[in-house]
Amino acid sequence: MTTPNPLSRRASLRSLLLPTTALLAGCASTQPRPGATDDSASDVGFPQRTGASVIRANGTRAFRNHVLQDQDGRTVRFQQDLIEGQVFAAVFMYVNCKGICSDMIGQMIGAYDLLTPVMGNPVRFYTFSLAQDSPEAMKGYMQSRGIYGRPGWTFLTGTPEVIKDIRWGFGFFDPNEEVDGNLEAHTGMARFGNHRLDKWSSCPALANPLMTARSVVALFPPGERPQIAALQDSETVPARPIPNYRPAPPSTREGA
């Protein structure tokens, strides 16, 4: 069960070379299977709890490989296409929200602008619909906010069960069912992740875009961080280099 990743260059190339596969993927997108999993996360022992994730032997994290649709109606796999190897910021909203969503997306646009040099590669933004918005509705919303077609920003929709599993998996839930299901009080938090390093943090998506952008950059190892002048904290006096510094070896499962 291989579905092309519409978000990566390699996958885009593959979809050009294998139009049949892409066509099949397009057909599949009309019938997303809630809670579906595939070979990357369906092993025996994957917990049944909503929002569960597991740490694999190489130290990276696996979520259920849900089926989603993006703003262009393409089928996207959650783990395979959105999580695996990615550095990203994810928020939850819906098109007709009369509450925080408009401001939240506004702040995320600000963060996107600051991160423009690295958006699409290697940083991505994901926006998950909390109200089963159609791809057309999401696309229209993106167009109205001037973000349609911007590299690296994908809006995603899926069944309520799938979106709930993803939301819970990112830690945004309330054990009280009534509170959890109250759409008006939905989370305004952004989840930041660097899958390769299993590095995760979170801050309000409504925060100053500078803080959001800096939180994203902090997910990278220092040597790989994008150097963006606008993200420097003007009030922090820079630390000084250690003379004759020799870096410590990487601290990873595979490198331990």
Binding site: V54, A57, F170, T187, L197, A218, P222, A239, A248
Partner: protein, 549 residues
């Protein structure tokens, strides 16, 4: 300092390589470890009371003939020449493999100077020091925790550039100099502090980094609390003294205890739920970094410096025999007078110093336990129920030695340190309401922005601040630099007993209201105030306030 022996149970990377590989092999066999703690089986079984209580070694300054390279830059510090450092430290933050119990595996931890807890700083008022903190962590660090760090001395009266503002985090390969003036706030001896601790304060990663090991004790002494129970100075209190230095434990009666709770996976490795937004609870009880140790005590008085090291646990500490003790300090500040109590409550980061007299126990009592009777089922805070003694988790076993006729010269005087005067007129009052909207922490309805100052406090003035909260959460609110004094709690005066001293952490339980008096002194610049449930703190439950000319 780099050549010193490591803290016991901490291996050099090469030495424990075999263990690490063995652990890795186990991991491959198990295929997955479960990240969602709701699904995670309980931590592996550990036999309690099989290992002695351990202590971090003292931080050791550079010898007089050795200079830091490069030299400190006075231009980076306020009042550097006025508080010219007498001692210089050159400390590393580095990764080590640590095993908190022989039945657990080795975990990769971040350490201060190779030790968990971090090396113990022992300073005296009037002796300024400079500590260079070199970030030697791996640049590529998988799993929870950040390789960026910034160190905060909790309750230190330090300039902001040395205080550990979260945005001042710095990366491996770089260092920061922390100038700790060790000066009394506005020169008032009544403002002396005692039991402090230092820990990481990295933006977004404080909970993960402290959980990974970055915390240690920072103790300050003066003529009154001199750390010498045989002090000939008639002004000295002569409280039980002698802080253990690594393995040097004999005849030491001033015992720092940091309580933490942790989870471990089935390979016995440290586990942190990075997706948890409420607060992290563990099912293993650690004291000074080791699971359920024992400690042998003489039949005499001991000073215990109790610290809730978090990240989200609340404690209601009792001795299993119900014995009483004297509370002598709240948040490290000596009270005007000792308070006899049977229990003390601690929110995250709070400290209580108590003096326990084991000579009063009958000869037949040879063991007692320190237990936590606070019921807590999630990271949001305690339920408010007090667990029955028999069902309360035991944290530390105290083995009381037979009476050897030991002479105990220590005292608990009836008068300790008076409360400082609230003699500055109140320039203004401010209210701070801590709340949660759409899953986001707010203070006065606003989100944290480190570029926005929410209170410009004029140096040389005093203010009254009102704290309140809503929702079913407990929030230990911590203020940097300046130490407020409690005025009212739930609208009633609260300035006696254990509330008579100064505090830096004010734990707000659901619906609580507190009012405090604060003076702003000595340093200029930006400081944070935040919830010290560090999971909440990392999700931006914080405000910035500045001291301005």
């Amino acid at each position: 300092m780099r050549d010193r022996l490591f803290h016991a149970q901490i291996g050099r990377r090469g030495f424990v390589k075999g263990s690490a590989l063995a652990t890795g092999a186990f991991f491959i066999n198990t295929k997955y470890s479960l990240a969602a703690l709701a699904d995670e089986p309980a931590s592996p079984f550990t036999t309690a009371w099989t290992q002695p209580l351990r202590f971090a070694p003292y931080a050791i300054p550079l010898p007089a003939w050795q200079a830091l390279d490069p030299l400190p830059d006075p231009a980076r510090h306020q009042r550097y020449d006025e508080f010219s450092p007498r001692y210089f430290y050159n400390m590393e933050v580095c990764e080590e493999l640590v095993r908190p119990h022989p039945q657990l595996g080795w975990s990769r931890c971040s350490t201060y100077e190779h030790s968990v807890p971090g090396v113990t700083f022992m300073h005296r008022y009037g002796v300024p020091v400079l500590c260079r903190i070199n970030n030697q962590l791996p640049q590529v660090m998988q799993g929870f925790g950040s390789c960026d760090v910034i160190t905060h001395v909790h309750n230190g009266h330090h300039a902001p550039e040395s205080d550990g503002f979260p945005e001042d985090r710095f990366s491996p390969g770089t260092f920061r100099d922390h100038h700790w003036a060790n000066t009394l706030a506005s020169g008032d001896p009544l403002e002396a502090k005692g039991t402090m601790w230092y820990h990481d304060h990295c933006l977004d990663f404080t909970a993960q980094n402290t959980y990974r090991g970055l915390a240690g004790f920072f103790l300050l002494f003066d003529d009154l609390d001199s750390g010498n129970e045989l002090d000939p100075n008639p002004d000295a209190l002569r409280l039980p003294s002698g802080v253990p230095d690594g393995k040097r434990v004999r005849n030491r009666f001033d015992i720092p205890l940091i309580f933490t709770d942790r989870r471990f996976n089935q390979a016995g490795e440290l586990l942190f739920d990075t997706m948890n937004m409420d607060g992290i609870l563990g099912d293993k009880w650690l004291v000074n970094g080791f699971v359920q140790p024992y400690f042998e005590v003489e039949r005499r008085k001991y000073r215990f410096r109790l610290l809730d090291g978090g990240p989200s646990r609340f404690y209601d500490l009792w001795f299993s025999n119900g014995m009483t003790f004297d509370v002598i300090a709240n948040d490290g500040n000596l009270l005007p007078a000792p308070v006899t109590a049977q229990s003390v409550k601690l929110g995250v980061a709070e400290r209580m110093d108590i003096v326990v007299d084991f000579s009063e126990l009958p000869e037949t009592t040879t063991e007692i336990y320190l237990v936590n009777r606070a019921e807590q089922v999630d990271g949001r805070g305690p339920t408010g129920n007090v667990l029955p003694m028999s069902q309360s988790p035991k944290l530390l076993k105290l083995v009381i030695r037979p009476d050897t006729g030991i002479i105990d010269a220590s005292r608990v005087p009836s008068s300790l340190r008076a409360r400082p005067a609230m003699d500055w007129p109140v320039a203004r009052e401010r209210s701070w309401h801590f709340d949660r909207t759409n899953g986001m922490w707010t203070v006065n309805g606003q989100l944290f922005d480190h570029n926005r100052c929410d209170a410009f406090c004029k140096q040389g003035t005093a203010e009254i601040w009102h704290f309140s909260t809503s929702g079913g959460w407990a929030h230990p609110i911590h203020m940097h630099c300046e130490e407020p004094m409690l005025l009212t709690y739930k609208g009633k005066p609260a300035n006696s007993g254990i509330w008579a001293g100064r505090k830096d952490v004010f734990t707000l339980y659901p619906g609580d209201e507190m009012s405090v008096y604060i003076k702003f002194r000595d340093w200029l610049g930006r400081y944070p105030m935040h919830c010290h449930n560090t999971v909440h703190e990392d999700h931006a439950m914080m405000v910035r306030w500045d001291i301005v000319p």
